[in-house]
């Protein structure tokens, strides 16, 4: 469980997240890609905290903040999905080609 090993796992999760966020058409699936990227960020932050920063409490605080970002992303994302569906009956990005409502 060395730092490079941890970072490689985090990089793999991030890469899959990038692929998902760019390739998926459904809004909720795009959000899953974003969550995977944040998941990788948490893993990398905690890996640095444990292996490189000597376990200083500040490192854990960074992970807590990333988790808060994750919660915000989910809340705002679900709100937007709800609203777009209500106004335009759209559930995939291809239905939102015009900016104008």
């Amino acid at each position: 469980m060395t730092l490079p090993g941890l970072l490689v796992v985090a990089a793999a999760l991030f890469g899959i997240g990038v692929y998902g966020a760019l390739s998926q058409q459904s809004f909720v699936m795009i959000m899953m890609g974003l969550e995977l990227m944040l998941n990788a960020a948490i893993l990398a932050a905690v890996a640095f905290w444990a292996r490189s920063a000597g376990g200083t409490p500040k490192g854990q605080l960074l992970a807590v903040v990333v988790m808060a970002v994750m919660a915000v992303e989910a809340a705002v994302g679900f709100a937007l999905v709800t609203n777009i569906y209500r106004i335009r009956k759209a559930d995939i990005t291809e239905k939102l080609k015009a900016l104008r409502g």
Binding site: W49, G55, L61
Partner: protein, 192 residues
Amino acid sequence: MEQDGERVLSDLVFWLAGAVAVFTAWRVFRTDSMVRAAYWLMASFVAVGVILVLLHADFLGLVLLLMMAGEMTIMAIFMVMFMMNPAGLNPMMMVHQHRTSIVAGVVAFLGLAAVGVFAVFPVALAVPTPDTTAQLGRELLGDSMLVFETAGVALFATMIGAIAIASERGRYGTADEGSVEPPAELTNGGAP
């Protein structure tokens, strides 16, 4: 000797959990059912939570599990509400710019992995002590209290904003009141 055995075991569990995390993350975008995708994603988070606990970040790992269990349940409900084919009865592949996305994902992985493997990071002089949760608690409600409370206020404001965005009716009528264009000919005093 006992320490060595413990290290080998934790290494083994780490590589297993890492493989599970990556495999389930990949399955998220390869399953026909969106509900199943939500649960694959949850499995990936559980595996990462296990790695966090192995790294002695017990509190963070368990909070991640709790948060993600709740969020993925909500996500599964959303899938059933809005999305087609939640049960995965038909094959589904809903993607655009597929080749570009694969290239972007692989490049992101290779770049970050190269940084992780080849960069020289400072090596910790100390390792996390067992009472990391107590340390985090003292940090959150001590030195970093202002940061923590600011994040809390930001979260609270976001939740109010999210509800405001999602609600159908605002305080003064429907949510899109004022954003509907008026008719070409003014009737009824120009009201939409």
